[in-house]
């Protein structure tokens, strides 16, 4: 996952931001930075504020409101386990309880609320790949398949 991202620099961040031509651009700007660099470096805040003529406080507020946005580089493997009620009904709680032990330190395991796969739960996403009827072994296989090791 990290391999597809370019290294952060103030210059490349600014170059991306000045290309954005949308009304209400701050959230789109932060999403653009995260897509490029894998995360939103905290030094981006004054740059976003400057490019779009908003306060740094406003940028910080948006950055900290949305759970998708992160301020630290991602680990190689990101595992998101759905904790919506439909997945809880088929064992998501126990899958979540097992996940940390199962997967290892190179993985970032997070809860997510609904992946829209509610008829084939428990649902999980390993990097960009969604897994239906997930269990400990399919989850571990998917992590191994990323090549990052578990």
């Amino acid at each position: 996952m990290t391999t597809s991202h370019t290294p952060w620099s103030p210059e490349s961040a600014r170059a991306l931001l000045v290309e954005i031509d949308e009304p209400g651009p701050v959230l789109v700007a932060l999403q653009t930075l995260q897509a490029a660099f894998g995360y939103v470096h905290s030094d981006s805040i004054p740059i976003v504020a400057d490019v779009f003529n908003v306060s740094r406080a406003e940028v910080y507020g948006v950055l900290t409101f949305y759970s998708d946005l992160r301020t630290t580089p991602p680990l190689d493997v990101e595992v998101r386990i759905c904790m919506g009620e439909a997945c809880q009904a088929v064992g998501a709680r126990s899958l979540r309880a097992d996940a940390d032990a199962l997967i290892g330190p190179s993985c970032d395991v997070q809860n997510v609320f609904c992946l829209g796969n509610c008829a084939l739960g428990p649902a999980a996403v390993v990097n960009d790949r969604m897994i239906g009827r997930a269990d400990a072994s399919t989850l571990r296989d998917a992590v191994m398949a990323t090549g990052a090791g578990a």
């Binding site: 009304p23 949305y66 009620e85 439909a86 997945c87 609904c114 829209g116 509610c118 239906g132």
Partner: protein, 510 residues
């Protein structure tokens, strides 16, 4: 030439549809493989179909091991252990009446010609012919109600926005389908994106809005890709842009992606997010129809509401209004989810019973254990008991039974569920996702978790039950939006109907 269909729906992909499609392509290089949407029988995914003179024949659920033998059977639609028969004749599908989902699973969602070949654009052409005022009245007369959850009459919103005089108006489609147990918006956007574009274009021309936004949650990457590709194709064909179908009228639309916030499904929080800010709920009035996106009159509808519009314009409001029961007009797309044997999409006129959906269509639980609780309408919806399943699934009947139909999601739990934990989760979810603007929601949800914990631990349980009921009353009456206002629904329904679970001695006291 053999034509084979393997869904590209993300639920099908989550159980291996991509691998099956690749393996079939390798085994049958002469065949044409179309990646369609899902037919909605999700427990049978990956469901592979082949064209025959009698209609499509279905095989499923297909595993990698079965591909070799399936590749031999498919060209002649021959017998195979996974052969299910002619898809349209399968009882699960044959009993449904699909208007909104008529094309999902049938067409190639990437192909605009296929859309037109299956009746697409007829509604938009009719709207252009009869003009904006008559189009608004058609939606009003149809009795269409908002499918996002509140069930507000769509025609009233359309009239209000149409009557506003403003240089710029907007149409916003709320595709922030965050309720657990709902996935109809996702399947529609992945399986028939042109329908949403057509419906939005009709809405834009009717109310006088030249720009539209679709706010899609980031958890739906396939829907985002599908919509963006469809918008590009629609622009190339003049279905969007400065001169729609040669009418001289302009409309264009954009996809905006959410960032993992449940409360942004609330319409005013969605507007804030579309404007690039924190998803904080706005007080109403002013309603968005008068002062919405960037302060302009804005029509906000759910995906399924907008997707019903082309049918109404094509066939007339009477045809749509003839379906349903009482004031719940038309068809509803029910989504069977959670612990179900046969999960998926059931589109049928309002009025089917919950029992028929849960025990009939869904076939009971996947675990084989008895159904104990059913949650309707997402995380803010009530839990019903297995005894309450004779309720008719329309807005008024479900409300009378103490529940909420919401977006049509039905989540089934078996008898291993701990309803005190589900009630606790409802409060915890609200605490996690509250935008923080109003106190009853922001603080009440945190206090709610604590009070439920005390009840579970047996700490003055009677007094704390009264406190919880009191707290729920404050949240219901005092919250700014449905997030805090409806969180008490699952909590109180669990406390009322599953009281014994709050007294269990085997709770996990973590």
């Amino acid at each position: 030439m053999t034509t084979i269909y393997v869904p590209c729906d993300s639920a099908a992909r989550s159980v291996g549809a991509d691998e099956i499609a690749e393996a079939l392509a390798a085994a049958l290089p002469e065949a044409r493989i179309i990646r369609n949407g899902s037919r909605g029988m999700l427990w049978l995914e990956p469901l592979v179909e082949v064209d025959t003179p009698d209609g499509r024949v279905a095989y499923g659920p297909v595993t990698s091991d079965a591909v070799a033998s399936l590749a031999e059977a498919l060209p002649t639609a021959a017998a195979h252990p996974l052969r299910l028969g002619v898809t349209d004749s399968l009882p699960w599908l044959a009993r449904q009446q699909r208007l909104t989902f008529a094309r999902v699973g049938i067409v190639d969602p990437r192909d605009p010609d296929d859309y037109v070949a299956h009746g697409g654009l007829a509604g938009l052409r009719a709207a252009i012919t009869i003009g904006p005022a008559a189009s608004v009245e058609a939606v009003f007369d149809s009795g269409l109600r908002g499918r996002g959850g509140a069930g507000f009459p769509a025609g009233i919103k359309w009239r209000t926005v149409a009557q506003e005089a403003a240089e710029q108006k907007y149409v916003c489609v709320n595709a922030d389908e965050g309720d657990s147990g709902t996935f109809a918006d996702r399947m529609l956007m992945e399986g028939d994106p042109f329908l949403l574009i057509e419906g939005m274009t009709i809405a834009g021309l009717s109310v006088g809005a030249s720009v539209g936004y679709i706010y899609v949650r980031s958890e739906y990457p396939d829907a985002i890709t599908s919509l963006r590709a469809a918008i590009t194709a629609a622009r190339e064909r003049g279905w969007l842009g400065a001169d729609i179908l040669g009418s001289g009228q302009a409309f264009d639309l954009h996809v905006r992606v959410g960032a993992g916030s449940y409360v942004c499904g609330e319409e005013t929080a969605m507007l804030e997010s579309l404007e690039g800010r924190r998803g904080m709920v706005r007080p109403k009035p002013p309603v968005p129809a008068i002062e919405g996106l960037f302060g302009r009159p804005t029509l906000i509808n759910n995906v399924l509401t907008i997707a019903a519009v082309p049918f109404i314009l094509e066939h007339g409001p009477e045809a749509y209004g003839a379906l349903g029961t009482g004031r719940s007009i038309g068809t509803q797309v029910y989504q069977l989810a959670g612990n179900v044997l046969q999960g998926g999409i059931v589109e049928t006129p309002f009025g089917i019973t919950l029992r028929e959906l849960v025990l009939g269509y869904a076939g009971g639980t996947r675990s084989g254990r008895p159904v104990r609780a059913v949650q309707l309408g997402g995380p803010l919806g009530a839990y019903l008991t297995a005894d309450a399943m004779d309720v008719s699934m329309d807005y008024e009947s479900v409300a009378a039974a103490g529940g909420m139909l919401g977006h049509g999601g039905i989540v089934v739990f078996d008898d291993t569920v701990d309803m005190a934990q589900q009630a606790r989760f409802a409060m915890q979810f609200c605490a996690e996702e509250s935008c923080g603007k109003c106190t009853p929601c922001r603080i009440g949800s945190v206090r709610g978790v604590e009070v439920i914990d005390r009840i579970i631990y047996g700490d003055a349980p009677e007094a704390n039950r009264l406190l919880l009921i009191d707290l729920c009353e404050v949240m219901t009456d005092g919250s700014l939006c449905a997030m805090g206002g409806l969180t008490p629904m699952p909590v109180l329904s669990a406390l009322r109907s599953f009281s014994e679970d709050f007294e269990r001695s085997d709770h996990d006291h973590r």
